[in-house]
Symmetry: C2
Subunit: 258 residues, 2 copies
DNA sequence: CGACATGTTGAAGCGGTTCAAGTAGGGTGG
DNA sequence: CCACCCTACTTGAACCGCTTCAACATGTCG
């Protein structure tokens, strides 16, 4: 059993470096010792099936999660039970950063397909922050990135015409897939048209029409969930970029964890 | 000179407890020693005049700010220079939490009127986090609250009709003023109609029409910048609340800084 | 195979924008 | 102090982008 435990840790570590927790661990340049410490607090969970919740609004769970495989949607619910999708989470991305202030989740997370995640308890992560300098800064950094992204999305919802919204969505997906080593021009949508429409603040029918329109313009080929982007530059031209600050790809490297 | 310094610290501390940094310091139950440590890293700045920037997109400034008096707007700028307002900042509120990930500000902050702020350098705040347990958690908590608020705003932009948007905006302002000891039903708007329209993703003309409409419905009295709310319950009914999770007013008290 | 969810396409309607004109403050210079 | 201007705001009317409604098509799953 002791041996089984060791094997499991090895397994997690290799996964961390390759995918899920990459952005959580690597930018800080953790040593082997630190990586071990982090490994030890990570819980595994049984896979979450399509349609099941990872957590719901109001759940007291004090954890954050890293997606290992599959995808999820985050959404809030208004007084009438209407859901508003905040975003989608692909493999290698983190979620659950919203729950810190009140100790309860302020949005729900539902699996779009079978999902496997690593669970990282806040409390243990926070006490670990005392031991690993830079971890705390990194958490703040992650949240600030999320804030930044939501600022862009707000600009999209407030000002952009529908074509720009869908184009932005597709370009952004493309970039995320590319960053994770997948094709930037060919991928499957794990979410329904309804979910896309909800995220972008428009009607489902409009999404359909736009996909058809984009196809007629030879910007992409769409067949149900499958997307093949033919003219990424043109899609980028249609989309709206909110931040004129160019990504200098430095990320956190300029900050030396003291 | 040493005496002058002491007086200044006393001054800051009294200010912190009363207004600006209240939400930053108090929820953690800082002792006198800790409060002194915090006081020491806070810089004063000369007042920022109306129309001047506290910081701009791309500025490398690694600080966060607490508003002592006056108000500001935060906004991003898209490729065509069009601004999208993220939010307004009233006395006692913090801003600049966006700049952590890249080390540069991802939005600009401009004074709507003469503003005085306290500046808190990140780096010194972070090193202070090592000394004061709970400070780091509190920063995360503040950011997560901001995320939560933006989720609501996204739902507003994506789904709500214009009446709900303006009503929500007014109700929210009312609550913020109330929380700070001002009247919940009578206040002055420091921002222009244009800025409100921008924040809520609509045309200036629509804002004007809605103010007139609300006045005809005896929900409020508006005279230029001055707002007097007559029927707050009705305004709340018109507005949309995104989170069904009731504010239990516990805030951070349930979390005992270990 | 049938039933139900999901997606597509067309046509009508409307909420909110855009355009245009007019009003009111607030600041400046004579 | 008034005349002036300029910006902020208001109000009306036409227009249009997108939604809504309706019908149909296509998968998908029991």
């Amino acid at each position: 059993m002791s041996q089984e435990r060791i094997v499991k840790l090895e397994d997690i570590r290799s996964h961390c470096q390759k995918c899920s927790l990459f952005q959580l661990c690597m930018p800080m340049g953790l040593g082997d010792g630190d990586l071990n410490k982090l490994d030890k607090i990570i819980k595994r969970r049984r896979p979450v099936e399509k349609g099941e919740y990872l957590y719901r609004i109001g759940d007291p769970h004090r954890s954050m999660y890293a997606v290992r495989a599959g995808s999820l949607k985050s959404f809030t619910t208004d007084q009438e039970g209407q859901e508003q999708i905040i975003g989608f989470h692909l493999p290698g991305e983190l979620l659950g950063l919203d729950a810190i202030s009140r100790g309860v989740h302020s949005c729900s997370a539902k699996a779009l397909e079978t999902v496997s995640v690593c669970e990282i308890p806040y409390e243990r992560l926070e006490s670990l922050s005392q031991e690993i300098p830079g971890l705390s800064h990194h958490l703040l950094s992650l949240m600030s990135e999320e804030l930044q992204h939501e600022h862009c999305h707000m600009a999209l919802l407030a000002r952009a015409p529908v074509e720009s919204r869908l184009a932005s969505f597709l370009v952004q997906l493309s970039e995320r897939f590319k960053d994770r080593g997948y094709s930037a021009t060919e991928f499957n949508l794990s979410m329904s048209r309804n979910d896309i429409a909800n995220l972008l603040g428009m009607a489902v029918e409009t999404i359909s029409r736009l996909f058809s329109q984009f196809q007629e313009q030879h910007l992409l080929i769409v067949e149900r969930k499958h997307i093949q982007i033919l003219d990424l530059p043109q899609l980028q031209a249609i989309s709206t970029h909110c931040s004129p600050v160019e990504n200098n790809d430095e990320d956190d490297t300029s900050y030396s964890a003291s």
